[in-house]
Amino acid sequence: MQTRRIRWHIAVFLAPAVLVYTAVMIFPLFNTLRLALFTEVDQTRIYVGLQNFRTLFFDPIWSEQFWNALGNNFWFFLIHMLVQNPIGVALAALLSHPRLRFAALYRSAIFIPTILSFVIVGFAWKLILSPLWGIAPSMLDAVGLKSLFAPWLGKEEYALTTLALVSVWQFVGIPMMLIYAALLSIPEEILEAGEIDGITGASAFWKIKLPLILPSIGIISILTFVGNFNAFDLIYVSQGALAGPDFSTDILGTFMYRTFFGFQLQLGDPHMGSAIAGAMFAIILVGVCIYLFGIQTRMRRYQL
């Protein structure tokens, strides 16, 4: 009998990716989780087990900040789910309409903000909404609605929603493109068969297209979830590390940054920072697992 040859080429081809990924992703991830189990006393690092997590969840000062950030994060995510994804689906449905003219132009125009840097988007919107130099107040003034203007980014009650909508503006192109691709892959015959049965127009969308693109919507939801719970840049750029006013825009990313690296007179605490990063990792992991095992496996799939 011939012994099976070891297929070295598999290892050789995998090696670069595995090595690079391990060095820059997997090792830092586990090292961060390890760091969360330590604390520093008098310049020496000592092992404290889960003490940092106990502080984070049960110490009144820390837990108040943590739950505030987590709550804000859920609100941020909710706005994206309620605004970004339905608009993305609607835009894709419009774009895939065969008789729409200039579809390519709209498609590019809506997608372009996605490729802009957070910093540019943050600063641009901050300027647009500025009560002093922004065009938002003068535009509202031009249509006689000046009274509706408020310094949104400076008010506790509006700031987070405003930033979530800015983020929606930036990223609405992604669900649009994914759904658009899914819609294009629906064969004409199915729609024609539906038409023969009298299903046309809007009901064709609800009864035929939507069920067929549901898996794509699921993927988009999970991408949104991961993106939102990792979000940091937009808030940091527009509101700074203190995520003002009065922490009303503080999300887990900014809370982690502030704790890890310190802020103004507050010194950085890498160990508590790692504990927050660990909590973020756990939240995202749980969210993704719920989706993968709870929703995706039960979703009906149609063979096209």
Partner: protein
């Protein structure tokens, strides 16, 4: 980025050539990116002319990010040879972590008073780890043209101050006061710690607070919040979203009449504003009261313990401690007042006016900086939020004082 590449390249060549010649390149870490041109054009050439063989590169980062960036660089071993020091605990922590060298044996340290050195010493004053460079003074800068136009006298008491604000508001040409709450720190630094010393009597109150003899719920610590609460009405439309650069621009464009200031603004304002500016100190409650000003030891410079150019760095620090540097720096960066014992003649009229307050008033430093911001929650950061809440009127001064006191009492023994 380009500058970083350049300085790396310079460092590379310096290392390569040091075997042949006595040449060293010193890199300075700083948060004063506003001063880049002044360092490059005035300060560094003066040093390099006197010390051939030592090259200096000034490499600043953004103020808000400086502490985080510096800590990461020091941990990673990639920080510059010279470190610009924040006052008190941020630098003390760096010293305790072994990142800064003890400079007590530096002969030129004798040029500074104990108060000047106190911001960069261990609690028992046994080791000094940064050479004091400058302090900043708080007060109000005003638009002289606007005051003349409206016939307003420079206010000295609180009643006069609010009367002036009322008059400006009534006239409507100018926004009475340029300040926003978006970035939060202005409300605390240029608000609370600007007007506060007059209430808590400067050092007397500050030291009593540290010893635990006074509490943040005492009337002298709450009253500044009550005064700040009156400010909201005089700030521009939408001040809630107004950022620090917005406020600077409002004032230098001549759209606002009064700017609650720190003296570090002078250099920038001189180049931006085309009207005449004056300054007045924080108004006292009753005419004739002793005035107190915040004369905050703000900036020092120390040596990275991991520096490969220790000798050159010491040479530079000795020069920084010399009267020559004090005179160049004080005049090149008006508004940063040298702390050296030798008096420095300042040329800038606004800077001269402000530094003159040192003779009329009692000096103190910001109340939250020494010791009180060591724990979590951090009193300085909490004060930012509290000052904003006071201006917006979202919370009563008493409630704010209680919150801060409760936070401080969770970790600071003298208040427990």
């Amino acid at each position: 980025m380009k500058r970083k590449v350049l300085s790396l390249a310079l460092m590379g060549t310096a290392l390569a050539t040091s075997a042949y010649a006595q040449e060293a390149t010193l890199t300075i870490e700083s948060w004063r990116n506003d001063d880049l041109a002044l360092w490059q054009e005035k300060i560094i050439p003066a040093f390099e002319a006197a010390n051939p063989g030592i090259k200096v590169v000034f490499s600043p980062s953004a103020p808000a990010e400086y502490n985080a960036v510096l800590n990461s660089k020091l941990e990673a071993g990639s920080a510059g040879d010279l470190i610009t020091c924040r006052p008190f605990d941020a630098s003390l922590a760096l010293y305790e972590a072994g990142h800064l060298t003890d400079l007590s044996d530096l002969e030129a340290m004798g040029n500074f008073s104990d108060v000047a050195k106190s911001a960069w010493q261990t609690d028992d004053a046994s080791a000094s780890f940064c050479v004091p460079m400058a302090s900043v003074i708080h007060g109000f800068i005003y638009n002289k043209d606007a005051f003349n136009e409206l016939g307003i006298e420079v206010p000295t008491t609180e009643a006069e101050f609010f009367a002036a604000l009322d008059k400006i508001k009534e006239d409507g040409t100018y926004i009475p006061m340029a300040m926003g709450t978006n970035d939060q720190w202005e409300a605390a630094t240029m608000g609370y710690n600007n007007i506060g010393p007059n209430y808590w009597k400067g050092e007397e109150g500050r030291l009593a607070l540290i010893k635990g003899e006074q509490k943040l719920t005492d009337p002298q610590w709450i009253a500044p919040y009550a005064t700040l609460a009156k400010w909201g009405a005089y700030l521009g439309d939408g001040y809630e979203a107004q950022t620090y650069p917005d406020s600077q621009n409002l004032f230098t464009l001549g759209r606002a009449a009064i700017y609650p200031a720190g003296s570090w603004e002078i250099a920038g304002f001189n180049t931006q504003a085309d009207f005449e500016m004056g300054a007045f100190k924080p108004p006292v409650q009753n005419a004739g009261d002793t005035c107190y000003i915040s004369d905050h030891t703000d900036i020092g410079i120390g040596m990275n313990a991991a520096s490969e150019n220790q000798e050159a760095a010491r040479t530079f620090l000795s020069w920084v401690a010399s009267p020559e540097f004090a005179s160049i720096f004080g005049n090149a960066v008006p508004g940063f007042f040298p702390l050296s014992n030798t008096p420095v003649e300042l040329e800038d009229p606004l800077a001269k006016e402000i530094v003159g307050w040192r003779d009329e008033c009692e000096s103190t430093i910001r109340s939250t900086y020494q010791i009180l911001s060591r724990g979590t929650p951090n009193l300085e950061n909490e004060t930012w939020g509290a000052s904003v809440a006071a201006i917006k009127g979202t919370e009563s001064p008493e409630a704010l004082g209680q919150q801060l006191q409760d936070g401080l009492a969770t970790w600071y023994a003298p208040h427990q």
